[in-house]
């Protein structure tokens, strides 16, 4: 791999696709990135602090590491990477990725991962790679991962989970497992997703749109496409106000989600625009500054609903992620996470 200094930081490796396709890991003095569905690719390495990256010799050899420490920042440097040493780092990055981007969906039939089980495995992996975390980083917090075990409510009898818990007990002090009832669970399994479409008969116009994953927090929404339904109608007994009603399908439509409340939602349809916030049940009512007759004359075909913040990613990108996890669920690879195997079991 060729390393060059860009903006003051040694950088090397292939370009990585942007989120949600990037699996990243922050180790002491460096950020490592991989494109999630390219298992054989080399990582993109960005050295944020060369002195803090005292593990580099494990990846590039003592010679390579020493040359890098002495290198002149204007000259690129070639190093050989140890693929075996990279494998567990990539796996840890992938696990972190799964905890945030796994596209759980009742509609798509993609079973959610148990967050507590995944967290336990990440804690064990992190501790096993402690030489890469000499300095505290965003990903070095084993105790924080162990604290997540308080939310472990199911699977406790599974021998694979029991093994994980034993390994965790070696790492530190575990919380009382399964005694704190969680008010909310990300791992809501296949709840029958009743179609919450609004009554189309009363509407002037209606349609669907999709949630961009990068625009919203994880665990809140069903990750399928076309889960946002909208309709435009008059409200009030005398039909005095024109509104757009929007509903976004949540991971758990029955219980709502504490993070759903306050998420921004915006409607755009030609020169008509409206904005508001979702409630805890995933619903929003956006007032439209339009008369009824103007609304009848408006062409609603090109209406788009944006949930959350920012530009978001394309449907093709999301499909790539779905393909990736479906392939893993259908045939769990040798290094599959326990949480994945549990999800694959549940799939049948």
């Amino acid at each position: 791999m060729r390393l060059t200094v860009r903006q003051g930081l040694w950088t090397g490796g292939p370009d990585v696709d942007p989120p949600p396709l990037a699996a990243v890991l922050e180790v002491s003095g460096a950020v490592l990135e991989w494109t999630v569905d390219e298992p054989d690719s080399l990582p993109r390495i960005t050295l944020t602090d060369l002195d803090a990256a005292d593990w580099l010799w494990r990846l590039v050899g003592a010679e390579g590491h020493a040359r890098l420490l002495e290198a002149d920042s204007t000259t690129p440097l070639e190093v050989d990477l140890d693929h075996e040493a990279l494998a567990p780092l990539r796996r840890l990055a992938l696990g972190h990725w799964m905890s945030r981007w796994w596209p759980a969906s009742a509609r798509d039939g993609i079973v959610a991962l148990d967050g507590a089980v995944l967290g336990a495995e990440l804690a064990v992996l992190t501790a096993a790679l402690e030489e890469y975390f000499a300095e505290d980083t965003f990903d070095s917090d084993v105790d924080g991962l162990l604290a997540g075990l308080a939310g472990l409510t199911s699977y406790t009898a599974d021998p694979r989970v029991a093994d994980l818990l034993d390994a965790c007990a070696e790492l530190g002090d575990l919380p009382d497992i399964g005694t704190t009832p969680t008010r909310w669970r990300a791992d809501f399994a296949l709840v029958a997703g009743g179609d919450p479409r609004l009554d189309p008969s009363a509407a002037l116009a209606s349609g669907t749109d999709s949630v961009s994953w990068t625009a919203v927090p994880p665990g809140v929404f069903d990750a399928a496409e076309d889960t946002v339904t909208w309709s435009v109608a008059m409200t009030g007994p005398a039909g005095e106000g024109l509104v757009a009603r929007v509903r976004a399908a949540l991971t758990d439509p029955a219980a709502g989600h504490p993070l759903s409340a306050g998420i921004r939602v915006a409607l755009r349809s030609g020169d008509v625009a409206a904005a508001g916030e979702l409630g805890a049940d995933g619903d929003a009512t956006l007032p439209l500054a339009l008369t009824e007759s103007a609304a009848w004359n408006h062409d609603w075909a090109a209406t788009s609903i944006r949930v959350g913040v920012g530009e978001g990613e394309t449907r093709e990108t999301r499909d790539r992620v779905r393909r990736f996890v479906r392939t893993r669920l259908a045939a769990p690879p040798a290094d599959a996470f326990v949480a994945e195997m549990l999800a694959a079991d549940d799939d049948f």
């Binding site: 860009r6 003051g8 930081l9 002495e70 920042s73 070639e78 300095e135 505290d136 504490p258």
Partner: protein
């Protein structure tokens, strides 16, 4: 964009040394059996073993700074290797002590703190003073654990509280603050020249020659009058290049004389003399090295009135340097432009760390993903305030302990390290805001 390569295909010149950690790893493995609890799975020492035991107690980096370089020459590597193996017996005893303390910790159901963090140093001391632990003895280890986990020495805090209700003592301190504040007067200084010359220590320092030049520049800068003069200017409206409010150092501008007991605000330079002493007592692990409380208060009264609340000139210079760096840092701003290698390096690092949040679905690009995060994200945009608060606290500690910041590499590492810890702290808050359980 590629860097101007000399000849990328040329054979790499052999390195002139070995990475420090690789040397330590190799030597550690030669100790053989008996140190497993201090080792990782692959047989090398744990990072905490290096940080808490080897660096301070075996290699004694304060006495042997040559052992601390990231790249060690063959001679130094050999010396380090010898030093480590000379301590093999002690390290084995240290490991045995740790196993004992860890077992007793479990038996006593102690969950406070991290066992390695808390016990490693203690275990090494025990190994030196008592050798191997005696089998079956639980009273001894239990007493040690009680000592480690026992209440902190509250004596000094009580002495401070007593002083603060003694009217005569308070009057004396108040009079001293008044005198000391009035004693700090404006004096002519080449402030613009100083700020310009600072850029020299922010330059690229990857070669030995550049590092040498940087050190010379910094050695000259720490003796200049400008940091003192700037510290006086922030007390007079409209004369400083920055507003102490924007910098987060005071709640209102200009800086006011600190009070003995009452904090004007929680901003660093608004804190009372008593609060500064309290912070010193909180942070001090080794109180025996501190002067008695009345002297500590008298010294702090002078310090609180000194420019930037710091007595040492090199620390005042470092503070000004931190201001110059801090105002340029903006983790969420892709367009922020830094004018020097040091600052653009820190900024690039902060950008990368902010990207990790986006990749982990904690930020939408550079914005809050959820209204709950707005507060912290706004704070991240105003990075300079927490940056300087933390830097000031660190420099205050150095001033109390009379630890200089005259080494240019040390100064740069400090300015970089503060950015890292503020960024990590911020990012953990941003993450916590998205924890549904924390509603």
């Amino acid at each position: 964009m590629t860097a101007p390569a000399r000849s990328p295909s040329a054979a790499p010149s052999p390195a002139s040394g070995l990475p420090r950690r690789a040397v330590i790893d190799g030597a550690w493995r030669e100790i053989g059996a008996g140190v497993e609890v201090l080792s990782g799975r692959d047989g090398g020492p744990l990072s905490r073993t290096v940080k808490r035991i080897l660096d301070p107690l075996v290699f004694r980096l304060r006495v042997h700074p040559e052992f601390s370089a990231p790249l060690l020459s063959a001679d130094v590597a050999q010396a380090l290797h010898t030093e480590l193996l000379a301590h093999a017996d002690t390290l084995r005893a240290c490991a045995a002590w740790f196993a004992v303390l860890k077992a007793r910790r479990r038996a006593l159901r102690i969950t406070d703190g991290n066992a390695q963090e808390l016990y490693f140093t203690v275990c090494f001391e025990l190994a030196v003073t008592r050798g191997e632990p005696r089998g079956g003895d639980t009273d001894g280890p239990d007493a040690i654990l009680r000592e480690v986990h026992g209440g902190r020495d509250t004596h000094a805090v009580e002495a401070l509280d007593a002083l603060l209700v003694d009217p005569a003592g308070l009057r004396e301190l108040a009079a001293q603050v008044e005198r000391a504040w009035a004693d700090v007067r404006p004096a002519p200084a080449d402030v613009d020249g100083f700020l310009d010359r600072l850029r020299a220590v922010h330059g690229d320092a990857s070669t030995r020659r550049e590092r040498h030049e940087r050190q010379q520049a910094w050695s000259a800068l720490v003796t200049e009058d400008a940091p003192h003069a700037l510290g006086v200017r922030i007390r007079t409206a409209g004369t400083a290049p920055w507003s102490v409010v924007d910098l987060g150092l005071c709640a209102t501008a200009p800086q006011q004389r600190p009070d003995v007991v009452d904090d004007r605000s929680n901003r660093p330079l608004d804190r009372s003399v008593a609060e500064r002493v309290r912070a010193t007592l909180r942070r001090s692990r080794d109180r025996e090295r501190l002067p008695a409380v009345p002297e500590l208060c008298a010294e702090e009264a002078d310090r609180a009135c000194a420019p930037w609340g710091l007595l040492a000139e090199d620390l005042q210079a470092t503070m000004v340097n931190g201001v110059v760096v801090g105002v340029q840092l903006a983790p969420l701003d892709t367009h922020a432009e830094a004018d020097t290698a040091l600052v653009s390096g820190i900024q690039a690092r902060l950008r990368k760390e902010a990207y990790v949040l986006h990749a982990r679905r904690l930020l939408a690009d550079d914005q809050a993903l959820h209204p709950r995060q707005h507060h912290v994200v706004t704070e991240l945009a105003g990075f300079v305030r927490p940056y300087l608060s933390r830097l000031w606290a660190r420099l205050h500690g150095r001033d109390v302990w009379q630890e200089p910041c005259t080494d240019a590499a040390d100064m740069c590492a400090l300015l970089t390290g503060i950015a890292r810890s503020v960024s990590l702290d911020h990012r953990q808050q941003i993450k916590a805001m998205l924890d549904p359980e924390a509603a």
